[in-house]
Symmetry: none
Subunit: 546 residues, 2 copies
């Protein structure tokens, strides 16, 4: 089976993305995870460009990689100087890596405009830098910056630069579409051209400015490239780099090309979420292969066919990449979506049963009011259980009062007073907050903590408000969506009302009720309390949103 090497640059090119700033610890965590996934090369940084990357290379020596080869990035030597005296080249050697990845210019326009040197001097810079690092015992990978643009402008010169690198000892020449604007057909043609003049393997480094980075990478492999550079989730400057979370399954599952060990592929979804977690970037639900919506089905036609055979509307089986199928409940969907959901919840509800009909009616009624259950599986399950399975609310609201005061030159003040029944007891308490919803959240947690200490581990991770438009605006309502997590799982809940406080309350109450239901936290004995390590909230809960 043909194979390609996976070269990850999340820690270097990925870190160029607007909004990403990895700490040294972050970088080490990610490097170890990529190593476990079976990636062949991990580019840790550019030691000559910043102290953080220098520190990374120092620290990573204490937790060596098991499989991957660690690479440090750098440029060809400065014009008019010797490679062995170049600070950037030295920094690579000092970093203690096995692999040096050196970028140089292939585009004559760049040689003149950006470097301001002669074409001959640029060739010398490439030759001498590669040869020197090779002589110091490193594997040298040569990144040909702007190769495709260069090859369109002055093919003879662009080819001469990569030949210079190969002849000086580079183990591979990686053709870079630095500006990201090349089309797949051009990539294929120019990769073939490059291969025809080289005796070493060729690689591809694509950017996504034309939304074609994955396609360009596949085109290069089709043309014989043996190394693929990219980043997890496609993070990178401007529109990002080639997304390895799409490149790898496309190559493995569709092109029959060996990449990472086949048994590692089921960890791909986890890897994607892990890196987005470390980068503190919300995962894109629509991301191919690994996104939460990648195998989510909304249309009733699709769902009824899926129930018969999943291949009808899925290009691969979601489990192959560690993802899972989700069936969404919405106005576009019908009874088949509901039946599918019941099965998932292990509920034995028949299409024609009174419960079945009642739930469908309830859902239709709520949806016509503006509820949306497709990303609110918590509220959906509570609704079904309330209709069907003798579910008991963990708490019942008697009254809620909310006060906001805004005065000239004084910070706004928000206070919530809450009275509810928990079992046979009545709790009456109050809390402040950053805003009214935060005050409400704090009061609710304060009221419930003694009964359910585990709520200390539940955190609101997202809060969304959507104003629903209706005829003449008179009946308009707001929909509030809340996402909650407890470290192990994450769930969505929803509320709708003309009153934003009431809608927030509904979503908030559901979020806690569902957390209690799923966590089997309903026991109220002392043992349970001790087992839970949550802190008691006191007017300072987790919803800081408004």
């Amino acid at each position: 089976m043909p194979s390609v090497k996976i070269y990850d640059t999340t820690l270097r090119d990925g870190a160029q993305a607007e909004g990403i700033s990895f700490s040294v610890e972050d970088k080490i965590k990610i490097a170890l995870r990529l190593d476990k996934m079976g990636f062949h090369y991990i580019e840790g940084g550019w030691p000559g460009s910043n102290p953080k990357d220098l520190e990374f290379f120092k620290k990573i020596r204490h937790c060596p990689l098991r499989h991957a080869r660690l690479a440090a990035f750098g440029s060809t030597r400065k014009a008019g100087a010797a490679a062995e005296n170049d600070a950037s080249v030295k920094a690579i050697i000092d970093s203690g890596v096995q692999v040096a990845t050196i970028f140089g210019k292939s585009w004559d326009f760049h040689v003149f405009k950006a470097l301001g040197v002669t074409l001959e001097e640029n060739l010398a810079m490439i030759r001498e830098t590669v040869a020197y690092l090779k002589s110091r015992g490193l594997e040298v990978i040569y990144d040909a910056e702007h190769f495709f643009d260069g090859c369109k402008a002055n093919p003879a010169y662009a080819l001469e630069t990569i030949r210079a690198a190969a002849e000086s000892g580079a183990s591979a020449v990686v053709l870079c579409d630095t500006n990201g604007g090349t089309l797949p057909a051009e990539v294929k043609e120019l990769v073939e051209k490059a291969r025809s003049v080289l005796g070493v393997p060729v690689g591809i480094h694509a950017h996504n400015d034309g939304e074609l980075a994955v396609a360009n990478t596949l085109a290069a492999v089709q043309a014989g490239a043996e190394q693929v550079q990219g980043t997890v989730n496609g993070y990178g400057e401007r529109c990002g780099n080639a997304n390895l979370c799409s490149v790898i399954p496309n190559l493995t599952l569709k092109c029959g090309i060996e990449t990472i060990p086949r048994e590692k592929l089921v960890h791909l979804t986890d890897l994607s979420h892990f890196v987005s977690e470390v980068a503190n970037i919300s995962p894109n639900p629509h991301q191919p292969f690994v996104g939460a919506s990648a195998f989510a089905h909304k249309g009733g036609v699709h769902v009824s066919a899926l129930l018969k055979d999943s291949r009808t509307y899925e290009h691969i089986s979601p489990g192959e990449v560690g993802n899972r199928r989700r069936v969404l409940v919405s106005e576009l969907s019908g009874m088949s979506n509901l039946l599918y959901k019941y099965k998932e919840l292990n509920l034995d509800i028949e299409r024609q049963s009174p419960e079945g009909k009642r739930i469908l009616e309830d859902i239709k009624k709520l949806e016509s009011q503006g509820f949306q259950f497709e990303d609110a599986e918590g509220s959906f399950e509570l609704l079904v259980r309330k209709t069907n399975h003798g579910y008991r609310d963990p708490f019942i609201l008697e009254a809620l009062r909310l006060l906001v005061e805004i005065k000239e030159n004084t910070p706004a003040y928000s206070e919530a007073i809450i009275k509810m029944r928990v079992g046979d007891r009545v709790v009456h308490t109050a809390a402040e907050g950053n805003g009214p919803v935060n005050a409400l959240d704090n009061a609710l947690r304060k009221a419930l903590y003694d009964f359910y200490p585990c709520i200390g581990s539940m955190h609101l991770t997202d809060y969304k408000v959507r104003v629903l438009e209706e005829k003449d605006g008179t009946g308009a309502a707001v929909r509030v969506h809340i996402q909650t997590g407890d470290g192990k799982r994450s769930w969505g809940t929803v509320g709708v009302s003309r009153n934003i406080i009431e809608a927030s309350w509904q979503a908030l109450a559901d979020s806690i009720s569902y957390g209690l239901l799923k966590g089997d936290h309903l026991a109220r004995n002392g043992e349970e309390e001790k087992a839970v390590n949550g802190k008691k909230p006191a007017g300072n809960g987790s919803l800081q949103t408004n």
Copy 2:
């Protein structure tokens, strides 16, 4: 110059995306905008599948499209029945469109599994549905669902289905990669195969499950496809559809293929933001061509080269698609935008004047807090005038108190108490409302009516809330955007705070202040009062929203 027709399905396939739920008004707004952009076809919905789409087609007749042809989507007739008696086919005719887009099965596996009919009956369903709609005077576009999967499994049959559609009168046959897993090289080959058996133009409808929808679309056009289906921002089920915001500039700027009128291309970035705003989905900053980061440069090497020549690190000029370059270390571009705005407002403010510098600083500070003035021209102009031109506030808030009460089995109660200075007088009053913001709006109007009766003619037409994400969530704030109209003009205002009530107040106060400024309504004499035909609001103002 070769050309392809742009067929937009944002309103139908785009609405299948998880998290998107367009109202009828939303759909009409988007349709009119797409029409203005010069799109050739706009698919408005599936009238046979839900009442919302039915209503859309009814309403859109009152605001007819100028250029685009409006299409309604539907399936081939049900098995064993006549096309003229099929409810879904009827719904298309009743919707009054010029174009019917009919999807049918090309994959034998689907014919058996999903439809449960014979291959022959499926062909009859295609033939009769297309022929009947054509006989009723409609242009019929045939969407060949799962064409690529079908053509790999049973090419003879797949080709027979599309031939059946073409021979029955379809004006074009659109080859659909419904499951989104086909590779570009396969697309190219199978599009060529399809074209070889058809006498009508071929189109492409690609999904993004392999992160290849744009590439597959380009591959199809390269193989001779003359129609391209997709959605704005690539919205759509699972991983989305082919993103027209990338397809169009790739075809126009790189492949030399005519799509929308060339002079419309500069509105592409605006279109993308407009649709994400209506869908209430945060724009993806890394989106190719139109994203805020698409031409944002972070690395020092890149920036210094860019200063010499922008082609060094940009694949196209950002202005060609209405986007702009952002150099993340410099604010120079911000100042040019401001100077442009001053000119629009007839304000004589120099770049280097103290006012000019102060406004720039204020705006930078406010933007870092989450303010966005792009669609809040009211708040922007007030800000500038407050700094520059001796502007006097028409009212000043002293204190505001808001109370919400929710009790078991009782409708929620909202009350606002407000105290403010108007000129040399103090007003202290209170009002109820449907929700807290409505109560606030009512109280404000009640307090001001005697001074400025013309506020009776100002109506809030839109109210939007966006929760702003920040690292760690602790500093998160909400942005409220209000749109107001007085029958003659419409203006937007904005407020930002951790407290949604405070943010709403800011936007609300600006909306009234700006209305007074523009309407020259500041005179308080009796004549003016009589001239205005507004009703005195009494706890029943126009903001019914929450």
